[in-house]
Subunit: 365 residues, 2 copies
Amino acid sequence: MTRRPYARLTDVARAAGVSLSTASRALAEPDLVLPATRSRIQDAVARLGYVPHGAARALASRRSRTIGAVVPTLENPIFATSIQTLHQRIASAGYTLLVGSHGYDLDAEVQVVSALVERGVDGVLLVGLDHSPELYRLLAKAAIPFEITWATDPSRIHYSLGFSNRLAAASVAQHLMELRHREFAMISGETTSNDRARERVAGVREALAAHGLELPAHRVLEIPFSIAAARAALGRLLDAGERFTALVCGNDVLALGALLEAAARGIAVPHQLSVTGFDDIELASEFSPALTTIHLPVADIGHIAAERMLTRIGGGEVPRLHEIPVHLVVRASTAPPPRINERVRNSTKSGGRLPSRAAVRTGRR
Amino acid sequence: MTRRPYARLTDVARAAGVSLSTASRALAEPDLVLPATRSRIQDAVARLGYVPHGAARALASRRSRTIGAVVPTLENPIFATSIQTLHQRIASAGYTLLVGSHGYDLDAEVQVVSALVERGVDGVLLVGLDHSPELYRLLAKAAIPFEITWATDPSRIHYSLGFSNRLAAASVAQHLMELRHREFAMISGETTSNDRARERVAGVREALAAHGLELPAHRVLEIPFSIAAARAALGRLLDAGERFTALVCGNDVLALGALLEAAARGIAVPHQLSVTGFDDIELASEFSPALTTIHLPVADIGHIAAERMLTRIGGGEVPRLHEIPVHLVVRASTAPPPRINERVRNSTKSGGRLPSRAAVRTGRR
DNA sequence: TTGTACGCGTTATCAA
DNA sequence: TTGATAACGCGTACAA
């Protein structure tokens, strides 16, 4: 007898004096085994410290009890949180989570998904609709159920769970217009290969257009999702002499950067400038001024995604499209625009000083 | 011939007119196969869209090319970021990342690790030294290499990669004492089953003690890692009439909460109160006032952890203990303490008002 | 350089 | 209710 470092099911069976199949059954379908035999087997399992061999199981059963989730980046707390709740839910169902991130690079994403497919994941969760055609082919060929999250696919070609980024963004613009803003600027994430960012910009544009307003291209800055980049972006807009009373940001991280830059330049939010975010991360409500933003039920998304995936893997049916309600949360960062002569037109070099409502310079061209 | 949805290596071999083993070899050790045969095989692979079957591979080779990482929570951006860099590094080496989180619950952690062991991960990354003995037993029995991160194990019983949380925290206290602070308070994460938090409190205590100062228990609040909890905690300290000029926070998230609460109460940081953090997340440097904190090379940690694990899996050797340099970053949230009559002693109910340096109330007992 | 044949640990089918 | 036995897809000594 070869000395093995671990016990396999055969060893358990022998120790319990039953056949391999009975041992297997006792673990998979305990009810089909007599209580007496079952407990002998369970004793043996405990005594030998038997741990099932996942690969062997996966090979024989053609199920890995593993789910893959691919996000653009974990640095956005919004993805990190949803991954977290996703993991909790599937773990309680005996599933394990394989994660990957691609940094908004669609080709990198194909590699990541390919690795997951190789591992035989039972399902894949993706973010958004923008993916390489190759990725879709890969998944289709492997016949692995997958789901789009953070966006909805109105065509219902794919299973999707999310909300309309366009409508949500439009409601932000709507809110600002109701406050009587007419001059807008926007700081967005890169829109190439990011349908969520693109839709948000489009949503704002559409809402404005419906009221005869426009959002010119030079007032929409596309930048990486970082506070530093957002600060710099607002700085560029101001330094360029752009005139706007409302700044719409693609997400809360960008909005936070804008708020910090505004504070550093002595621009009063919301009195001189209104700022909005998207996501409603924890800081949004705790920051001062508290951020007007779109609230997303992040934990719900992870949870529901898990639920849908588990039922599909189990052979159940779910509606192709699951729309999650999102809503605008009005807080302290938005207010009616200042009167003409109080507007922000260019940068104030005098960093820390708190400006009085009247102390605004004239813009250089 | 059964109609299969996918191609296996046998199919590739047949299509290329070679034996199964040759096909296998062509993929694993291309150099051992004649260029001509090799390319025939590669053609077949491409034509059939062959994707290796991970489970079968793992079963035969006894390696899953999968690494597990278990963190307390992904909500702390510091863990999310390191997981991200970890993933990048191991993915480029053909490995996949299995993640798990346990929410600071040691028993839950055992379950998570157990699931990873079942999946046959080739290595496991853990955070900190506090783990259930059962977890250590599990890993030892399965003979899976594992590594402690975010902390060092001076005893060198385990492989570890990190820094001394105690010394780092002590250096924060040292800095504050050099500024002539003598009255301290601390907001920490829960120290039960969290050695990092415990060590940080201990580090501050020791440093103070070395100068004859103390940090009484009632001035150390242990709370969940959230901004809201931190705000509430500072509120409680102030409302209780505690007198302190320096507030040491267990990490940056807590410190941010403290800064926000101080601002809301009209307490000037750093003039009336000095506040410090730990981690140096992006917001720490962008916030106003910028936060004095301990800088951790987060990306490096993920990267080095990956490197060490990969060499160990490959049979290589690495030093048991890898110490990462961390250092204090002094920013705008710390300054010498105010003169006696300017100290913060209790809460100011008049939220938004900015107090002049002299406008501080007398504490109620 | 290539091929044969067995083993990896489990599930699933079928018969007893 | 239990037990034989054939897959599952690939790696790898060993032989050719």
